[in-house]
Subunit: 570 residues, 2 copies
């Protein structure tokens, strides 16, 4: 491809709309343009990158035994009512009504459609297992689309679904997909962590997320370097604490006047204690019912764990009126002692506390000298947002925390959807049984941004070899018609003939402009064709990542370039 013909509008300035480096570089290097909030057009350089990632995904899916299908975006409401998810997805699902008044959702995921398909086609254990995937456009009406294609409203996903007669078969496919996801990350040149994850609204018993590690990641990954434990912070387990054998006796606590003071830090300062000596008392409402949750003053409640424990769809902090009804006091003075207005849950971090302070359920008053013996807990449990430095739930060593970008997610769904939609098969004994299911997703368009987050420098993108839209850029220092340009043309044709993806910068621009654009768009190798080198019978070859410069012969340059390319990351 010739740069002069390519639709590649590079930008010198960083557009104001971008925060993340990947978003900035995707705009500057002419990969994408925004049409409207969370919706992007992909330009040729972006499409070439997308197609490369799709190719990697397809190859790894095929190798793992998955078969490609293509499922509709338009999905009838009735099908989502069958699974009960029409209301659960709520406004996050884009919806439309056709000219006949029938309602449809634009698929944010395809469990319903694929389960509906197989329930009509798969009848016998002989037809199982099956592992089907597609690469297609998905829609999610995000409340706050941001970070470019990282969190868009219309995006490209690989989603896959598998169907099994038993747990061993599901596990075998789950492991194959787990391995394929690792291969995909590696072939995209990315450092990643596969961690335990919460299943969210997809549901199911076991799930892992594949996290591309990057400081800009929206997710926090908790990991133990000692034993290899890893989990999304939504899922990372707190350590269960037994009731202490020598628990101090109940005292009822001592009321202290704390006028207008309610934030944890203010209360701790006023009482001259550490914030970890406070019992933080939070009032939530889960599907309409209030619940009180206790946690150590310096720690945060993990609302995903709380939601899973309560088995509710909607969870939010209570408003002032509910707090007043539950505690008898304004917000900021809640405490567990004597509280009877709601069920009380307590995180393990509260279990061993002695001589703690907490709210008195009375305006402008707190209690000191409180311990668990002073109040009733309906359930102790793990409601903690685990943090760096906490003990590993497996081995007890200190945990570390890193940020990550979720590129993929694998789930064991079990029979959640096959039960609801009646996807059964006949076993060898001729009995009907629900199929076991797995599901497996990859954010294909997000992956482009994730790769850039890991692979860039001040000058621009540094593409890993298999993902690069062009492997090689040839910069001709001459002008159209002169000898260097002619030599560059010959080089271009020789490399292109070998099947290499080559971009020839044949524009009538200054060398500085061409070099800057070459660095910005980040092809792994840059070949410079200049008069001095030609006089000596060589081209200059520069590796984008290392900056290493070598010379290659004008005669038969293709083998040397191909070898250099093979040596590039990953």
């Amino acid at each position: 491809m010739r740069f002069s013909q390519l639709y590649l509008p590079t930008l010198k300035e960083t557009p104001a709309e971008a925060e993340l480096i990947s978003h900035k570089l995707m705009l500057r290097a002419g990969l994408i343009r925004k049409l409207t909030s969370g919706v992007f057009s992909w330009l040729p350089l972006g499409v070439r990158t997308l197609r490369n990632i799709e190719k990697i995904v397809r190859e790894e899916m095929t190798a793992a035994g998955a078969q490609e299908v293509l499922l509709p975006i338009m999905q009838p409401r009735e099908l989502w009512e069958e699974s009960g998810r029409w209301s659960i997805y709520g406004p996050t699902m884009m919806k439309l009504t056709d000219r006949a008044g029938r309602e449809f959702g634009l698929g944010p995921t395809h469990e319903e459609v694929i389960t509906d398909l197989v329930r009509h086609e798969i009848r016998s254990y002989r037809d199982l297992p099956k592992n089907l995937y597609q690469i297609g456009t998905k829609f999610r009406d995000e409340i706050r689309p941001r970070f470019g294609v990282m969190r868009g409203r219309e995006f490209l996903m690989k989603d896959g679904y598998s169907f099994h007669p038993d747990a061993a078969s599901l596990d075998s496919t789950y492991q194959a997909m787990y391995a394929a996801y690792g291969n995909i990350c590696r072939r995209c040149g990315c450092t990643f962590a596969a961690v335990e994850a919460d299943s969210g609204p997809i549901g199911g018993a076991q799930s892992h997320e594949f996290m591309i590690l990057a400081d800009s990641g929206e997710d926090l990954v908790i990991a133990c370097e000692a034993c290899g434990y890893g989990a999304n912070v939504e899922r990372a387990e707190g350590v269960a604490v037994p009731a202490p054998a020598d628990a101090p006796a109940a005292t009822g606590g001592t009321a202290v006047h704390t006028p207008g003071i309610h934030a944890v830090d203010e209360v701790a300062a006023f009482l001259k204690v550490r914030s970890r000596d406070l019992i933080k008392t939070m009032v939530y409402v889960g599907d309409g019912t209030p619940v009180v949750v206790l946690i150590r003053g310096d720690r945060e409640i993990n609302e995903v764990k709380l939601k899973n424990f309560l088995k509710v769809n909607e969870l939010a902090l209570a408003d002032d009126a509910t707090v007043a009804k539950v505690t008898g006091a304004p917000t900021g003075f809640a405490g567990p002692v004597g509280l009877t207005g709601a069920r009380i849950l307590a995180d393990w971090t509260v279990r061993g506390m002695i001589n703690a302070a907490t709210g008195a359920n009375r305006q402008d008053y707190h209690l000191t000298g409180v311990q668990p013996g002073d109040f009733t807990v309906d359930a102790w449990g793990d409601f903690l947002t685990v943090a760096k430095g906490d003990p590993c739930p497996r081995c007890g060593k200190f945990l570390t925390a890193r940020r990550g970008i979720e590129m993929g997610h694998v789930f064991k769904l079990g029979t959640k959807y096959s039960d609801k939609l009646g996807a059964t098969y006949l076993t060898e004994k001729g009995e009907g049984a629900p199929m076991l299911m797995g599901c497996y997703g990859i954010g294909v368009s997000r992956m482009v941004a994730a790769v850039i987050e890991q692979h860039h420098d001040e000058q621009g993108i540094i593409w890993p070899r298999e993902v690069a839209p062009f492997s090689v850029i040839i910069v001709a220092l001459g002008k159209p018609g002169d000898a260097t340009m002619a030599a560059a043309e010959t080089l271009y044709r020789e490399l292109a003939r070998t099947g290499m993806a080559v971009l020839l910068d044949d524009r009538n621009e200054r060398p500085g402009v061409k070099f800057n654009d070459a660095d910005l768009i980040g092809c792994p190798l840059r070949l410079t064709v200049g008069g001095k080198g030609l006089a000596r019978g060589v081209f200059e070859m520069r590796e984008r990542r290392s900056g290493t410069v070598t010379e290659i012969p004008v005669d038969n340059p293709a083998p040397a370039v191909a070898l250099a390319l093979m040596a590039q990351h990953p």
Copy 2:
């Protein structure tokens, strides 16, 4: 791929929902399943076929100088208001409202989005021409979805758009795309006609449709075998007829009592004349204004021509009240003599009529002995639906008519969209000018059905070579574990290693079942591995299209199979 693992549910019975042979075979051969009206899931065999067609399209687009982009499905209403097409598309465009209350259309076509993109990026004549295309999902809320994927509501299209500084540049790209479309038809193995077409709501000055010829086609293609003229019937030109030099004088006609008789055939029978001796008088309403159109009694008005002539968005036959108002009589007795209630247009077929009959604008009366001199025509023109046997507008020979399936459509749009959206560039002289545009579409999912319409027999599909989901099917006559199955496995591995797409039927089924399925799914070559052949050191090879059977050696069979494959259609 092994048949036992492939998700390929074939059907013995033809589903009642299908009318067209392609629809029946796509269901029976397990290519597609219906999710809801006009919306289909593609199964692995269907996806493989789609991907093959996409590959052909991409290769031909690249060869023609087009670059791939990917444009959003969700398109803001405001953009379609700018072009004026939000209301023109009306209910045919699927629409949704996001959580913030903003309205979007799901792109049935992308002129607005691409023109919006380039108007922000292309500034100079140096950036032109550009030819961009995408392959993506399109939506159209068809009133009557039918014929399977032939006319669906969610479908795959290739759409391309080009931008030019002048007419010569546009013409050059138009010719390149025209040639590429022919190549695509040929590589898909299809007999086609490239014919002049009406531009419809896309607009523009010149357009051609690529028609896959098939008796089941929805379109009628008019062609002249003498001079090569060809056009969609919507567009095919009638021949202009000059006013006869010896036109008979006006007589005013003679009123005849025709009680309750108004259909053309009834009137002709009653008056004992041929239907071609009647002047048919139709009352239409175009964008709210009534208009009267005259045509010879045995011919049909072409409403597309009428709509273009009137330059209206909506055109329909007038209701009884409007007819009464315009003609002063009930529907069925309209005639041009003395009519003043609306503008009168007349097709050339009426020009030379003598002693004709027509309505008297009076209930239960017709006039006889009428000629054009008896009434006033506001405009003579071409409003005729051309038919087989009419004279060719170019050479005057007889025209033929065939049915066709529109696989593609190319348009010269001119400045229609660049004017409306302000897509201008700076010319060499530094003056602003609107870009000239072309646009080019191919129905990718429709193409699968069109190929089948041309390539099938009683037993099933007969895939052309480049489109076939598998090139070769190996039918093992043995049972799992025996010698023939082992030989089939070896053959499978040897062929697959060469990169050939091979399907091994390793199911534990009777030979008859396997042969029937092989014929149904239509791979170009079938290799049968049986005990008798093995004893003689050969496999049987059968060509699906010709039925020709040959033998290939067990030792090193790949070259013979590859040669046979190359010899297949197309």
